[in-house]
Symmetry: C2
Subunit: 472 residues, 2 copies
Amino acid sequence: MKQLEKLSDRIINRVNINLRGFELDVTPFIKKTVPLTQLVKFYAFYGVTSHHPLHFNFTHSSLAGSYFLGKCKIDRSVLYKSDIRGDELKRKGDLCHSHDSAIPIDEDEVIRIKDSYLIKTLVHNYSHDPENPEEFLIRNTVSLPYANIHGAPMEGCFLGPFSTVDLTTLHGCIIGTFTYVQVGELFHHRIDPGRVWIRSDEFDFNYSFDQEVLDHYISFDADKVPRGVLMDFVEDRKIDFESVFDVVHLEPSISVPDSSALNRYSVVKGDTHIGENVLVAQRGYLENAWLGTGANVQESSYIINSRLEGNDITAHGGKIINARLGKKVFVGFNAFLQGKMDYPLVIGEESIIMPHTIIDLEESLEIPSGHMVWGCIRNREDLKKHSISLKELSQIEGQFTLGSMRFQGSGSNFVQAFQERIEHILEANGAYYDGEKHRGHAQEGQTISYNTIQPYLTGDLKGIYPCIDIKP
Amino acid sequence: MKQLEKLSDRIINRVNINLRGFELDVTPFIKKTVPLTQLVKFYAFYGVTSHHPLHFNFTHSSLAGSYFLGKCKIDRSVLYKSDIRGDELKRKGDLCHSHDSAIPIDEDEVIRIKDSYLIKTLVHNYSHDPENPEEFLIRNTVSLPYANIHGAPMEGCFLGPFSTVDLTTLHGCIIGTFTYVQVGELFHHRIDPGRVWIRSDEFDFNYSFDQEVLDHYISFDADKVPRGVLMDFVEDRKIDFESVFDVVHLEPSISVPDSSALNRYSVVKGDTHIGENVLVAQRGYLENAWLGTGANVQESSYIINSRLEGNDITAHGGKIINARLGKKVFVGFNAFLQGKMDYPLVIGEESIIMPHTIIDLEESLEIPSGHMVWGCIRNREDLKKHSISLKELSQIEGQFTLGSMRFQGSGSNFVQAFQERIEHILEANGAYYDGEKHRGHAQEGQTISYNTIQPYLTGDLKGIYPCIDIKP
């Protein structure tokens, strides 16, 4: 274990130096969340297909988790049950658009993780940093369970549990528990827990959860493990994944159309239906789930006793329990939507559930179609202060507040940006596949061949993985 | 599949050129034995420990099977369910003794397999070619099911099913079905099926099975798959291995002493007992097996309804059914020993069952202690013509025949060579471990960490494995 201890200390040291301005010591956060002995217990796996550029290079690291599809280089890092998914990386020959200029991509983009400690973290999409388009770099960074690093290169950062950094480049930042940021770029910022912040040249959306809500759903401090309803929810379902990871080959227990992909590292229970062009990513969880054509369920998403009519998006970490979603509903990262068996949550078509929204019903509730919702909603009264129709939002120009949400800028640009992104996600996931054209992840992710790698089990290197280089 | 077809054709072409003097075309042998579509179905696995030098390098190959412990380089080859076991390779700094000279080993020995097609073949031990002590090379070679390549570098060879090449360097040879050779070196020889041939500077042992025996137990020609009792025996038990290969981690179903290793890729059934210092290698098969202290069961060996008192050796491919073995009985490669439930085969202590011996009882039989047996024995009459006491054998000097066995040379050197080898095997396997000293495979093989690798599942590269390089 000596080398693993040294590796852990090395990463802590580097992150602490980067964050010295905040006087943050990440030691207790890491040591409390995952004891080093845990790192020896699991295997890593990486996927190979004939559709994606292949180059994996793992050196001097502890790797439990998945690395797949695309190019990925991990050096002197600890990845614990993390999903590093490189199926949207830029390819050699692509043109990348940013601020009216087109950047030619001369090499396949590579995810590079160096001197970092990512615990149950999702890394996906591609680097949205136009300055370094061919490298999606995560360096000197610590992230805690259920954090999402989405198209967000970063250096010297600390990400709290259930936080999401989306299409944003970070330098020396602290991102609080359950915070969502999509703000382009940040230098040496500390973002408090429970803030949802979206900012571009044209708009600024800002919301912060009440402390009472955070205390109940997800909270965390240095001397304790993350706790609250969200943590209990995922912990309670951990055991269902064990049998999935224990077998080498797993045939789906339900029928899956030829146009759809049900990842073999997902859980399927109860009476579940998979329609055409559906993508269920790894660590997706389906229990009595009805998924209509083009619906998708991304990593660490849970669909329980719910029906999704079609072209619905459940972003990474989204949880939908006892609900009925109309067509093309967008459920953002780490959203937690829970109806009751007696009165399921109903969401009308083309509504947008903002990332990190909590809906936890105390009474029956229907979200009308074409609405945007955010914050914490438990009843109809809450809904009034945490929703707006897309039509109304599109007409806003300048400042607008509703409850503790503050909006500034062009509402129509905000709505348009969201809708364009939703279309892009559906396209990328293959929701619009017609049997020939518009292939996406639902079609390309069907024949992933998985390889596994395990750490040394004894001696000085215990818990460290051998160095591996894998190419076509 | 295009690349896999090209690879197969390339290997066939190279082997045929090497064997052109014999006008042998290996095409039908390969194509009949394993259809190319089979090669896509299985995974390869390689083991990592902190005890063995690590460097695996696999390029442009199809690899189903196991590669483990030590350094191994596979290039443009097909390995189908083959066991490549490198835990006896020479290490940097070793001294290798040959013909009164000591050869210093300057680099860790590496197994290198190039342009070869090995089907259900075992490769083990180290290169006994003193001219190339740091490379155990298998090149331009085809081997068929249950062949053993044991310390035997070779180039341009064809090995029939259930054949064994032991401590012998081969150049452009054909080794017939169920043939055993341990003869130092051979150039452009064709050895007929069913010959057992051991030759050194000091002795020469020669035996050939009758055609009737071969037809019944194991025979093979180009337009058919291998057939006979031996083939049926292993085919009937194939299904038991499926569940073993299907799970990622497998805890032993019986208690295993701290000093013993039960490989996780072995089968354990019925009332089975594992004593101290026992080694059960991968693809070992135990059913109602009682293994006393220091017994070992090597790759593709089967122990069924049998008791081994201790320090017994079951060499690669040995099968022991309904038998009781006294202490330190040696059962050679691919031996097939079958008593009946009513009258188990009894073998007295320190007896030597020659490689490729068939004992298949029609009546009760006891092999006295301190005897050597060979050939095919079904009753007491057969035993007389196929056995000799070690004491008597030691006194032979010159020529000696018994039945169709011909011996020439020093009997005492022959017995001594066998006994020294038996001691060496017991030492290497850790049979003499005392809790501190004399560690061997039984102790070093307990904490192997296995990684898996799978082929491309679609496209031009279907069935080919990605190139992998793995180091400490």
